[in-house]
Amino acid sequence: MRMRTVAIVLASVPTLLAQPDRSVVEIYRQAVAAYLESGDAATSARPLASLRPDQLEPAVKAVLTRADPRELESAADLQLEIGITVAGLSVSGTGAYFDQGSRLVTAILPPPAISKGLSAVRMEEIALISSIWHRVAASTFLSINDLTGARRLIQRAGRVASESAAVFTLVGTAHEIDAGLNDLDHWDPASAKPGRTMMRASLLLRAEEAYRSALESDPGYVLAVIRLGRVQSLQKNAKAARESLERGATLAREPRHLFLAAMFMGALQESQNDLTGARQSYERALSIVPQSQDAVAALAFAELMSGRINRAEKVARDYTSARRDDAWWLHKTGAFDFEGLQWLRQHLRQ
């Protein structure tokens, strides 16, 4: 699965020093206009790459002041693309880009006095843009296991689409990842273990509830089916987990969903000492996303524990010797809302 990602070449960016006659506001305005025109985030954002988010602030404020809906949407989407690109490098950088983007996308909806003149269809469209924008931003944070950033954005996405299966699934994913981060048996002193175990059980329960709410809202929402299977697996409910994961794999059409179902099935099989089954599942996952470190690590470990050392070494060495130019975090936890990003890109092009 090759996902189209934004590749901003930070090192090759001309600095502001080379362009003394152009203000940051103007450079930003032109970048946003170029993105609106071409849809090419990598090229459009290149002149911005030497600027820190705080240096962009006057330019963001200028866009907010002009309050042109198309410019606001384009600028918000460009901020999102940049935030996604730097997510694997700098969590704080991503947060700053997303904060600015959130203000821009929120401002598309004009103040109440003006918005009275908007049609219901347009109001609904604006709400959808905002909800999906915040969903994608939240999913980026979930892709790098940053729950603080994610939860803030999920809350904002939920304000405009509280019954959305996608939002419920994001909520569940945040709890599920949180439970994973609370499973740190070997990090904490023994005295902390009972508290962590209770916390983890509670988080898994809340994740399960969120996925079930997503499925009530949309019974065919495949990501919720697969993630429900994962949670059931972590809750040691192997029978239910297997059923959910098999159903999810059957419903899945997107490679990233098939990948996730295979990874979670592998983990379930491994937990039941079915190393042969686990190896097959991880191999399937790796065939879908050959650059996934998660799949490589999972398969290599299963091979190692099966006593197949040469095979384990080959899996590991093939991975580290390969050139990886994809933004790994888009498929790191399977949480990234790629469909949402595509929707935003297409909407801007319309």
């Binding site: 296991n145 002193p189 470190q293 290599a300 190692l304 070494e313 590991a316 790994w328 790191k332």
Partner: protein, 287 residues
């Protein structure tokens, strides 16, 4: 002479991660255990086999030989390069590593593997110091921390030349795992299975090592070295190297031990003072 030959053969066979108790020749099984003995910060030298007591699966064993391990080192540096190290700590890490490389002998190889969220082989095992320095200069600190994945994948990059050198992994990190698929139990299991000697260097402002570092070092028969400031890394790396050069090689023929997949081994001192560290055991065959 025959005994020396056996030790060499055992050392060669022990490089296979599949069998920490290698079998060679009909009916001859030898277990080889590396042990370091420290008294405070100093390595304890001059110990003989009369100074050690070894139990295998709880059964006392007759030690065949105790020698100072003279094989050249083959270091695998597995270094955290996550965003949290950005700035002076990272600069100090690079300088300390540079110094560590300076202190190696010409025939001692080094591999550099880095991890943040991704695991990368920065330099495969090499004697080429210039290549190592170039790689160090090019490193940047960015991203999250996937230490569990890094440990397992690094173990699988053990250099094939390990038969004539002593493979040692030095893991450096400043924080908890935030990005691995594998859990800490899996990383520890892989270390135990590999038989690789593992030392852990931690940089953390709090006193003492994390539980994970302690368990990782225990599983790998090494030690945890804690630095509360980045400036202490240089000295810590020097101490790690000192200890690596003062390890004893203990061999014995297991006797009266139960047939089991995993064998617990305990090494203690007799009539001598010091703290012994050694691998906690070995696997026989496959599960």
């Amino acid at each position: 002479m025959r005994r020396v030959a056996i030790v060499v053969l055992v050392a060669a066979a022990a490089a296979s991660p599949a069998a920490q108790r290698p079998t060679f020749r009909a009916g001859v099984d030898v277990v080889r255990i590396e042990a370091s003995v420290m008294n405070g910060r100093s390595a304890v030298g001059g110990l003989k086999k009369e100074n050690f007591a070894v139990t295998d699966s709880g059964v006392p064993q007759a030690i065949d030989s105790v020698t100072l391990d003279r094989m050249p080192l083959s270091l695998m540096l597995v270094f955290d390069t996550s965003e949290s190290l950005l700035g002076p700590p990272f600069t100090a890490l690079i300088a300390a590593t540079d110094r560590l490389i300076d202190n190696l002998r010409p025939n001692e190889a080094v591999a550099l593997i880095t991890f943040s969220d991704q695991v990368r082989v920065a330099v495969p095992s090499t004697l080429d110091r210039a290549a190592l320095r170039a790689a160090l200069t090019g490193l940047t600190a960015a991203g999250a921390t996937s230490i569990n994945d890094a440990i397992v994948l690094s173990l699988l990059h053990r250099p094939p030349s390990a038969t004539d050198a002593r493979s040692v992994m030095i893991v450096f990190s400043d924080g908890r795992d935030t990005a691995s698929w594998l859990g800490s139990s899996q990383a520890l299991a892989a270390v135990r299975r590999s038989g690789m000697l593992v030392h852990v260097v931690e940089l953390r402002p709090e006193a003492g090592a994390t539980n994970f570092a302690r368990e990782l070092a225990k599983a790998g028969g090494g030690r945890v070295w804690s630095a509360r400031s980045a400036g202490a890394l240089r000295e810590l790396f020097e101490r790690v190297l000192d200890e690596l050069r003062a390890r004893y090689l203990i061999t014995y023929y297991p006797s009266g031990v139960p047939a089991a997949f995993w064998h617990n081994v305990k090494v203690k001192l007799k009539n001598a003072r010091g703290e012994v560290t050694a691998r906690p055991g070995y696997y026989v065959g496959s599960q």
